[in-house]
């Protein structure tokens, strides 16, 4: 007898009523039960950061939370960044600065940076490097990611934040 729980995941403002086993990670539930595959899964043990999303105002590893723990909480994933066709300044900056190649790590870096810049758009260089060290990128060598986040920070500081 496997226990199942009826829960509601509020993803980018939309409620998804699903039924999951308690062992279902939040990352798997978002992808497989809710169909939002923008959140990527790399390592499934907290090391790579590809699964980083924002839950109740905190950037977290969604592979290290169970979906039942996020029942009713406000969740933001990469799908919530753009406003229709209008990309978020962070997305624009990642394109402009060539901050991605294969793109596998990108959703995680976007949500990690979004959370940090919304909290403090004046993030210093040292703090920014420390923050971006949280996630792994196998392609870019990080320099362009750093440039992109700095660029987006400037735009967001100028008040172009939506």
């Amino acid at each position: 007898m496997t226990q199942r729980a009826a829960i509601v995941l509020n993803l980018n403002g939309v409620d998804h009523a699903i039924s999951v086993e308690p062992r279902r990670t939040l990352a798997d539930a978002i992808r497989d039960d809710c169909g939002l595959t923008g959140t990527h899964i790399g390592c499934e043990h907290g090391v790579c950061g590809a699964c980083t999303i924002i839950v109740a105002g905190e950037a977290v590893r969604s592979c290290l939370m169970f979906a039942v723990q996020a029942d009713g909480k406000r969740i933001r994933t990469v799908e919530g960044l753009a406003d229709g066709e209008q990309l978020h300044p962070l997305q624009e900056a990642f394109i402009a600065h060539h901050a991605l190649q294969c793109g596998f790590c990108t959703p995680g870096f976007l949500m990690l940076s979004l959370h940090a810049l919304e909290r403090d758009p004046d993030l210093g260089d040292e703090e920014l490097l420390d923050l971006l060290a949280s996630n792994l990128c196998r392609c870019t060598g990080y320099q362009n990611i750093v440039k992109a986040v700095r660029g987006a920070a400037a735009v967001m500081r100028a008040g172009v934040v939506r």
């Binding site: 308690p22 062992r23 043990h45 290290l64 939370m65 420390d130 949280s134």
Partner: protein, 284 residues
Amino acid sequence: MKPAPFQYHAPRSLQEAVAILAQVAPADGRVLAGGQSLVPIMAFRLARPSHLVDINGIEALARLAVENGKLCIGACVRHAAFERPVVEGPLGRLLAMVVRHIAHSPIRARGTFCGSIAHADPASEWCALVAALDGEIVATSVRGARVIAAGQFFAGIMATALAEDEVLTEVRLPLLAPDTRCGFYEFNRRAGDFALAMAVVHFRLVEGRMFKPRVAIGGAETHPRRVAAAEAALAANAPSPRVFADAAARAARDVEPLEDAQTNAQYRRELVVAVTRRALEAAL
């Protein structure tokens, strides 16, 4: 890479939590706190608990308060809470300095101080800090609450004095006198990784001499602990490069180093020399 099935419990009170844990502990039921160590080991199937008792919904455990000269850290207080000093004076500054070395910001947003103590990884920064400060650990079960001294708590690699039906409800750290000097240093190969060796030190200067020096070493042995031989080398001496080098050498001689494929005992001892000396220098 997916956790094995388990039954999930989300108690709203401590009383409820310890009652459930008492029932499920014999069947490898466990507490789920931040999940930042437990979920990875479940994903690897190194742990297959049949029940998880999630304590995140217990508001009383989010307590962070000063009481009787001690900072009381409840079981749901996250690492991130310490990124800015939580109390005035040296203790708040020491906690803020050390927390920056624990994992990465998204992990610090979930992982708990007390979870680190219960998990007792040999390289846990908080465990070394609790050893250096002679902290107290409060363990609660249906049988009541007991207080365990740090020196009696850590028992080996991920082994502690906690019984399987006990919830670690609180850690208490003594506030440090305003003139206490504190230092921390760790060595690891990449930022955010578990350290290969670390030292937490503190002392007061009375008429230019070190008073009540404390030296705790972490990451080098099965569990962190104070090293009396190093402390004795400092006590009643004025700080100097020679005295610091002597204390560091004694710490290194005293440890029984953990070994692994990349780290032999000699290398680990040399790291202990370096981290002890650098932590002492940082304290000045």
